[in-house]
C-alpha cells in the first residue's frame, strides 16, 4: 500500500535532511535580498517571506497528528524538527524586523507595546521559547506526560500567528484568512477526535 511505502521511506530519511531542506528557503531568500532579487524593497519582502514560511511550518506541524490518525501516515519523528524550524523562522523574521526594518531601538519596544499586531506576533514568539527549549530527548523523558500538555501551546501559537498576519494586512485580504481557516480546521479535527475518545 502507498501509505506503508511512504512510512517505510520516511523511516529511512534522516531528520537532519529535513533541517537542510527546510532551512534552504531562508538562506536563498537572504541571498536574493543581498543581490537585488527581491525587488525594490527587499527588507519587507524578506521579512514577509520568513514570517510566511514560519506560518506554513506551524500548519505542517499541526498536520502530523491528523495524517497519522486519519491516513495512517507516520511522520511523527520529524515533528520536533518542524517545530524547531518554525521557531527558527519566527526568530529570523523577528530579527529582520528589529535590525533591518524598524532599526530604532526605542521604537521597537514602543511598537511591541502599542501596536496590537506586533504584540500578538511577539507573544507567539515568547510562547514558542519554552517549546523550543524542551524539544530534545532529555526534556521529553524528563517531563513525561507533562511534555504533551506543554506542547499544546503550539495551538495557541499558530492561532496567534494567523491573527498577526490578518491584523497587519491592509483592507480585506483573503490569504491571511486562509491560514487562520486551515489552522482552526486542523484544531477542530483534534477536538472531535478527543471527544470521541472521551465518549468511548
Amino acid at each position: 500500500m502507498l501509505v506503508d511505502r511512504i512510512n517505510a521511506l520516511a523511516r529511512r530519511v534522516p531528520v537532519w535532511s529535513v533541517w537542510l531542506v527546510l532551512l534552504a528557503p531562508a538562506v536563498w531568500t537572504f541571498w536574493l535580498g543581498l543581490t537585488g532579487g527581491l525587488g525594490a524593497e527587499p527588507i519587507k519582502a524578506l521579512e514577509r517571506e520568513l514570517g510566511e514560511v514560519a506560518l506554513q511550518l506551524l500548519v505542517l506541524g499541526l498536520c502530523i497528528t491528523p495524517l497519522r490518525r486519519f491516513l495512517g501516515l507516520n511522520l511523527i519523528r520529524f515533528r520536533r524538527a518542524i517545530g524547531l524550524l518554525a521557531f527558527t523562522y519566527v526568530g529570523l523574521h523577528l530579527l529582520v524586523w528589529l535590525v533591518l526594518d524598524v532599526q530604532i531601538p526605542a521604537q521597537i519596544w514602543a511598537d511591541i507595546v502599542k501596536r496590537p499586531y506586533v504584540t500578538v506576533g511577539f507573544t507567539a514568539f515568547l510562547l514558542m521559547i519554552p517549546l523550543a527549549l524542551t524539544s530534545n530527548d532529555w526534556s521529553l523523558r524528563r517531563l513525561g506526560p507533562r511534555w504533551r500538555q506543554l506542547h499544546k501551546l503550539t495551538y495557541g501559537v499558530a492561532v496567534l500567528g494567523a491573527v498577526h498576519f490578518i491584523w497587519l494586512s491592509k483592507g480585506f485580504q483573503i490569504e491571511p484568512l486562509i491560514y487562520l481557516a486551515m489552522i482552526l480546521g486542523l484544531l477542530a479535527l483534534r477536538w472531535r477526535a478527543s471527544r470521541r475518545v472521551q465518549r468511548a
Partner: protein
C-alpha cells in the same frame, strides 16, 4: 496658467537614468560588504532630491485593482485598455461633459515635477513626474462658485482588472480633495514619468498627484472628476475610518494606529537601507501649511 510652481532643483539636476542606475549598483555593492548603511538608525533627510530609478518606480506599486502584492500591478496592469480614454467632468461646473484624453492634453501644459512620494505604509520614493496642474483642468471646465470639494473616481473594469474580483475595497476606488487643495499649484494630474508615458501600473493614462498627502490620496487612472459642495467619500476612509482620514496629510506626529509615521524608508536602498525622518507635509509645509491654519491635525488626520 501653468508653471505656478517650480522645483528648487531644475530639470538639469535630474540625474540621467543610466548614471543613476550605475551609482545605485555601486551603493548596493558597498552596502552588501557592510561598508555603508547598516542599522545606524534614522539619518538626516537628504535635501538634494535624488529620483528613484524607472525600475523602482514602475515595479513597486500599490494598485489593488490588479492585486495586493507590490509586484501585481507591474505583472497584470498591461491588461488595462487606455486608448481611447475620456474623463467625465461633472457636478458644479459650467461645462460638464466627457473630455477625451487627447483633447485635454491639447489644452494643458505639461511640466516636469520632481516630487517626494510618501506612502502611508512608511516607504517613500522620489519621482520625476510629467503632468499638468489640476487647476488648469478645473478652470477649463469652469468651476462654479458653490463648489467646495472635488471627487475623483478610478476606472472599474472587472474584465481587465483581476484584483477587483476580491472585495479588498469597495470598488470603484474613489478619492477627494477640498477645492483649495485641488487648486493648489503643487497638485497635478500626472501623465508621464521620466519623460515617458506613465505606465499602466502607475495609473495610466492620467492620475492625481498630491505630494504633501499619503500616496493613496493620489488616485490612479481617473475617469471621473465631480465638483461638489459636500465632502466626498474616499475609499480607505470607507474601509477603515479609524485609520484613514479624509485629509491624510503626511504628518510624522500623527501615527497610523498600527504603525509609526515618524520615519520612512526610501525605496531603492537595498537590504540595509536606513530609515529617514518623515517631514511634516512631506517637506512641502512652506507651500501648503497655510491651507490648514487653525485646524487640529490630530483630529482632521
Amino acid at each position: 496658467m501653468a508653471n505656478r510652481w517650480t522645483n528648487t532643483l531644475t530639470e538639469r539636476d535630474v540625474t540621467p537614468e543610466g548614471v543613476y542606475l550605475n551609482r545605485r549598483q555601486m551603493i548596493a555593492g558597498a552596502a552588501g560588504l557592510g561598508l555603508i548603511g547598516g542599522a545606524g538608525g534614522a539619518q538626516a533627510q537628504d535635501d538634494a532630491l535624488e529620483p528613484n530609478s524607472w525600475e523602482d518606480i514602475t515595479s513597486y506599486n500599490n494598485y489593488y485593482e490588479f492585486g495586493t502584492d507590490k509586484g501585481d500591478p507591474a505583472r497584470y496592469a498591461d491588461a488595462l485598455t487606455i486608448e481611447p480614454w475620456s474623463v467625465r467632468i461633472d457636478g458644479l461646473v459650467d461645462k460638464p461633459g466627457d473630455y477625451a484624453f487627447d483633447e485635454i492634453m491639447a489644452k494643458m501644459t505639461v511640466e516636469e515635477r520632481l516630487y517626494r512620494f510618501r506612502c502611508v505604509e512608511a516607504w517613500s520614493m522620489v519621482v520625476p513626474w510629467n503632468g499638468f496642474e489640476l487647476a488648469d483642468l478645473l478652470e477649463m471646465a469652469g468651476v462654479q462658485s458653490g463648489a467646495k470639494y472635488v471627487a475623483f473616481e478610478t476606472v472599474l473594469r472587472p474584465d481587465e482588472m483581476r484584483g477587483v474580483a476580491y472585495p479588498v475595497l469597495d470598488w470603484p476606488y474613489v478619492e477627494g480633495l477640498r477645492l483649495d487643495e485641488a487648486m493648489h499649484p503643487l497638485t497635478i494630474m500626472a501623465t508621464g514619468i521620466y519623460g515617458r508615458d506613465i505606465p499602466n501600473q502607475n495609473g495610466a493614462p492620467l492620475r492625481l498627484i498630491v505630494p504633501w498627502k499619503y500616496g493613496f490620496k493620489s488616485i490612479k487612472s481617473v475617469v471621473r472628476i465631480t465638483l461638489t459642495d459636500v465632502e466626498p467619500p474616499t475609499s480607505w476612509n470607507k474601509a477603515n475610518a479609524r485609520e484613514y482620514g479624509f485629509y491624510s496629510n503626511v504628518n510624522p506626529e500623527v501615527d497610523h494606529p498600527r504603525w509609526s509615521q515618524a520615519t520612512e524608508r526610501r525605496i531603492g536602498g537595498g537590504l540595509f537601507s536606513p530609515r529617514i525622518p518623515t517631514q511634516m507635509f512631506n517637506g512641502y509645509g512652506d507651500e501648503v501649511a497655510g491651507l490648514y491654519e487653525g485646524m487640529d491635525l490630530t483630529q482632521k488626520f
